[in-house]
Symmetry: C2
Subunit: 228 residues, 2 copies
């Protein structure tokens, strides 16, 4: 069976995000996948990139460079245990699902912190091993999120612009950079403003998509997909 | 004199980001501006959006909705003291400068958390008061940041795509959404890979720009600026 890591960022298990996470665990498990969830708020996951991420001495005690120090720490096995644990989950996964409510055209800070701290140089990439030759090749990623704004607001001519514009930093800048192939995003628009009935349909649609997910082709993660 | 808030996110005072912050404080003070700095790592600023941001009882004790609860808490003066303090600084400022190293095509998580937690509904926006009618009108914002990648990598045909692509969520999705007008970004490309001499020139160029900053016209914050 395939291995799936769901990185999940919502404070409330009863939220639509909580339900989307739950039905994904159920459906993927039913398929025989092995599913792991990183429930970031429940873990009180640390989003801040600090000296605490390096165990033991720093390479440069005069001037702290987070990128260089975590790179060196990774190579000698000296990253903090929470990072090592998340990296192990990533390493084992065939598919990463990021489940979150859109905050300010992006991920909530707690999930951005997961990206900042887990995907360190040496582990996920190391120049020139980036983009198609990043270290996390042969993995897939899928951003699944809810929005406050409606589908119309996130249309090309809408006030928020095409929703794809805001996916560039996440899908291309992070996942593609690490060599991960990206599946089409799964977006539930404005669930707060629709009926309970409609929200149930959203859960069913997600479950249905997951049934044939492994047959999907990744998107062509180049500017054309985002800004055409 | 004008009032300026610098929201600053770097762990190391001796870094180029630290120096860019320092010279901005010096130059703007010399001009007679009143400058406040929110040094996020030094403040150990909390990036996680949780129930702790609301003092006292929740409106809905059954199902926690961060957006709704902070909105209600704002209206009754029930946000946590760190948020009230940041909001006061924003309220008083004519110009917000965000100074940071680019992490994964965006702000470091600690600064994203500042956006997520400080710019609550009721304070910065409240439908339909968003974009040009957001509550933070008559303020300016400027994103000043350093990159790992070179200018060539962030050219339109470069592997990272036009640097403007990644500014869309920050400048349009956050600042413009709140009614803030956006000045052109200030970008120092790949300071780690240039000479000490070159880095000094970067500091001088920033100081020079600040000398005539108040005469600058905001950018036209619409898709054309970003994706033309």
């Amino acid at each position: 069976g395939k291995k799936v890591l769901i990185v999940y960022a919502h404070q409330e298990p009863k939220s639509l995000n909580g339900s989307l996470k739950r039905v994904a665990v159920e459906e993927l498990s039913k398929q025989g996948c092995s599913v792991t969830v990183s429930d970031l708020y429940a873990m009180q996951f640390e989003p801040r990139a600090t000296r605490n991420d390096i165990v033991g001495c720093l390479q440069n005690t005069e001037e702290f460079d987070y990128g260089v120090e975590t790179w060196q720490a990774y190579k000698r096995g000296g990253l903090s245990s929470d990072l090592i644990e998340e990296q192990k989950k990533v390493q084992e996964a065939d598919l990463l699902i990021f489940q979150f409510p859109l905050y300010w055209f992006s991920m909530p800070a707690i999930m951005k912190g997961w990206m900042d701290r887990v995907l360190v140089q040496g582990f996920a990439h190391e120049y020139p091993n980036c983009y198609d030759s990043g270290f996390l090749q042969n993995k897939l990623a899928l951003f699944s999120f809810t929005t406050g704004g409606s589908k119309e607001m996130y249309a090309k001519e809408g006030i928020g612009g095409d929703i794809r514009y805001l996916l560039w930093p996440l899908q291309h800048g992070i996942m593609h950079f690490c060599g991960v192939k990206v599946l089409a995003p799964h977006i539930c628009f404005a669930p707060e403003y629709v009926s309970e009935e409609k929200r149930k349909e959203m859960l069913i649609a997600w479950t249905q998509r997951l049934k044939t997910l492994w047959k999907e082709e990744p998107i062509n993660c180049s500017p054309e997909w985002y800004f055409k």
